[in-house]
């Protein structure tokens, strides 16, 4: 079973979002996503300053099985990308909700965060696709 922390928000495409104290948000991919991808060998994260719309491809993850885009769950300006992933993509496999964070974003409209899936709804969406 995959780990789904209760204090985060989620998308059906397997990104997670954490609210930070300064009003920005941290974004990564879920434990389920890293398990499905397998061992990651390459990660590309966006540079600070990039403007993103909700649903924009904002990062790339590549494993021995597949390459996949990561979609921004909400609109905003990139504050920071996790540069450590460039040399250590395995951090996403080892700690998807911690050291494996991918980018920090200043949301254009912080209220949108509340419209994303909560842990229970994400769990339900996983169960629906795993029929």
């Amino acid at each position: 079973m995959s780990d789904i922390p209760a204090d985060l928000r989620y998308t059906a495409s397997h990104e997670w979002v954490r609210s930070l104290a300064d009003g920005s948000v941290e974004i990564g991919i879920t434990d389920h996503a890293q398990q499905a991808l397998g061992d990651l060998v390459f990660v590309e994260v966006p540079e600070a300053g990039r403007e993103l719309q909700a649903g924009d491809a904002c990062a790339v993850v590549e494993s021995v099985k597949a390459a996949s885009d990561v979609y921004s769950p909400l609109a905003g300006t990139v504050v920071d990308g996790n540069a450590e992933l460039g040399s250590a993509p395995e951090l996403i496999n080892q700690d998807p909700y911690g050291k494996g964070w991918m980018l920090r974003l200043k949301p254009a409209n912080p209220a949108v965060l509340g419209t994303l899936l909560d842990a229970a709804a994400y769990q339900a969406s996983l169960a629906a696709t795993d029929a």
Binding site: A36, V41, F42, V64, K65, S68, P89
Partner: protein, 497 residues
């Protein structure tokens, strides 16, 4: 199969050793007209070995290979059918091999006639109005196809159309091609039955739609049943339909992309028409077009004026997207496809489609009896089908990759694994029409035996293969620590970063 690995050729090298009989004749004035700055000051880093050592080394390497000439190779969506030796034999006639591409048309009527007839046969079997043979590979053909779609819209002054629709089941080359051609990719889902979600298609088409790229049968191994409806939706919106020819083998002689409404198609001659696969080439990705794309075909194309064949180039096709290869593409490969099609004839073409489909459905039915799960159990397979090992992964903790590696020990090349990405823990199996019932039964028996092993001794699968020259490789480490040089020279750059 020998149970050992082979050294790299440099490890056999000894100073001063060589094969003098094979040396080129030394020029009388070596590179006298080259400026000194461009001349080598040191000899190149080449292995120094005898002729016999070179012969043995490369023969042993060839024996370590899995190949269609030695083993069943059910690599889904790749159509690893057997290539009849006659195709090689005739394509390698000295009159073909010795012909210079700049020789005059008058002395090359034979090869031009072959290429012209190949164009005509490809038109006939696909239902297209024109064919160009110049693209050098499948992806090159895709590039030509989307470039023609863009040229068509541009020629009409319709500059807003820059979106290419791609189903999520598509080959990865499709969105890559669209992006390469400067288009924006709009992805649409396929439904639970494997067909394109027609409502999702209706929602994305519009004045920005340049076209849609479809594979039919799709990579899910099922025929797109609503293709005529899809064609009408896209055409009504002003877009064109692109047919990815990866799975053309399934429908050969039965149904034609042109009749389904497609405007452009690329054909992987190395899949459907039995030219050599792999090793990175040489390939051939001929393109076919409907009436409205005829002016944009890449050049040269072979034309015929009465009984004379000639190259059609810029003067004949001023709106062409241009030249994609030096001269005529890979003529040697095209000649192999020509011989193959001539040997089959129109009737043989239908039998290819029939047996490719029959063999796939036979293997699918037998594997289901053996306890495997079909990804689309309610659908008839085309020339390939998907088995999903999701249940085995959950219950027995064995993966599709474990099955694939263990198959090698049973003497079978693994099917395609983890593609398409939509189906978890999948094997995409394509037997092709050239395999005998006995070979198919052998593969089915091996799969059944591995399933029993998975249920009783999963650890055995996890460590497979046991009988190959190398055991399970660490593919993560291989991807992260690229080490491609035998022994980096002091001046060498890169390769070991």
């Amino acid at each position: 199969m020998p149970h050992r690995s082979e050294q790299v050729v440099f490890e056999f090298s000894r100073p001063g050793r060589g094969a003098t009989a094979q040396w080129p004749v030394a020029p009388e004035q070596p590179a006298a007209d080259l400026p000194a700055s461009l001349r080598r000051s040191e000899p190149p880093l080449l292995p120094e070995i005898s002729e016999l050592e070179a012969v043995r080394h490369f023969t042993r390497l060839s024996q370590l290979n899995f190949s269609i000439d030695t083993q069943f190779y059910p690599l889904g969506s790749c159509t690893m059918k057997y290539n009849p030796k006659a195709c090689n034999q005739y394509a390698m006639l000295p009159e073909f091999l010795g012909r210079h591409p700049l020789a005059p048309e008058s002395s090359g009527q034979g090869v031009l006639a072959c290429l012209y007839e190949l164009q005509e046969m490809l038109k006939d079997v696909t239902g297209m109005r024109g064919v160009s043979l110049t693209p050098m590979a499948g992806a090159h053909g895709e590039f030509a196809g989307v470039a023609m779609i863009r040229a068509y819209h541009r020629a009409r002054g319709d500059l807003a159309r820059n979106e290419i629709i791609v189903p999520d089941a598509a080959h990865g080359t499709n969105p890559a091609t669209a992006t390469m051609c400067g288009c924006i990719v709009r992805e649409i889902p396929v439904g639970a039955d494997g067909d394109v979600d027609v409502e999702a298609l209706r929602a994305v088409v519009g004045p920005k739609t340049a076209g849609i790229m479809l594979t039919n049968p799709s990579t899910l191994g099922v025929f797109e049943r609503r293709i005529l409806e899809v064609a009408k939706i896209v055409h009504d919106a002003g877009g064109l339909l692109y047919y990815d020819g990866a799975n053309l083998n399934a429908i050969l002689g039965k149904v034609r992309p042109g009749d389904m409404g497609f405007d452009v198609i690329h054909m992987n001659l190395h899949k459907t028409f039995s030219t050599p696969h792999g090793g990175g080439g040489p390939g051939a990705g001929a393109v076919g077009v409907s009436e409205r794309l005829l002016p944009f075909l890449p050049i040269p194309v072979v034309g015929r004026d009465d009984d004379r064949y000639r190259w059609l180039a810029e003067a004949d096709l001023p709106q062409s997207i241009g030249r994609l290869s030096a001269f005529m593409g890979n003529t040697g490969v095209l000649l192999r496809a020509y011989v193959y099609m001539r040997m089959l004839g129109r009737e043989g073409m239908s039998r290819v489609g029939e047996y490719a489909t029959l063999n796939a459905n036979y293997v699918l039915a037998r594997l289901r009896q053996a306890g495997f799960d079909a990804a689309y159990p309610e659908r008839r397979a085309s020339h390939e089908f998907i088995v999903t090992l999701k249940r085995q992964a959950r219950e027995l903790n064995v993966t599709a990759m474990d099955f694939a590696k263990r198959l090698l020990d049973y003497g079978f090349h693994a099917p395609t694994t983890y593609f398409p990405l939509l189906v978890p823990e999948c094997l995409l199996i394509e037997p092709t029409e050239t395999e005998s019932r006995e070979t198919l039964d052998g593969f089915i028996a091996a799969m059944a035996a591995i399933l029993v092993e998975a249920e009783t001794d999963a650890a055995r699968l996890k460590a497979a293969p046991y009988t190959m020259p190398v055991r399970r490789l660490d593919d993560v480490r291989a991807a992260k620590q690229l080490d491609l040089a035998w022994k980096p020279a002091a001046t060498a750059v890169g390769g070991t970063a």
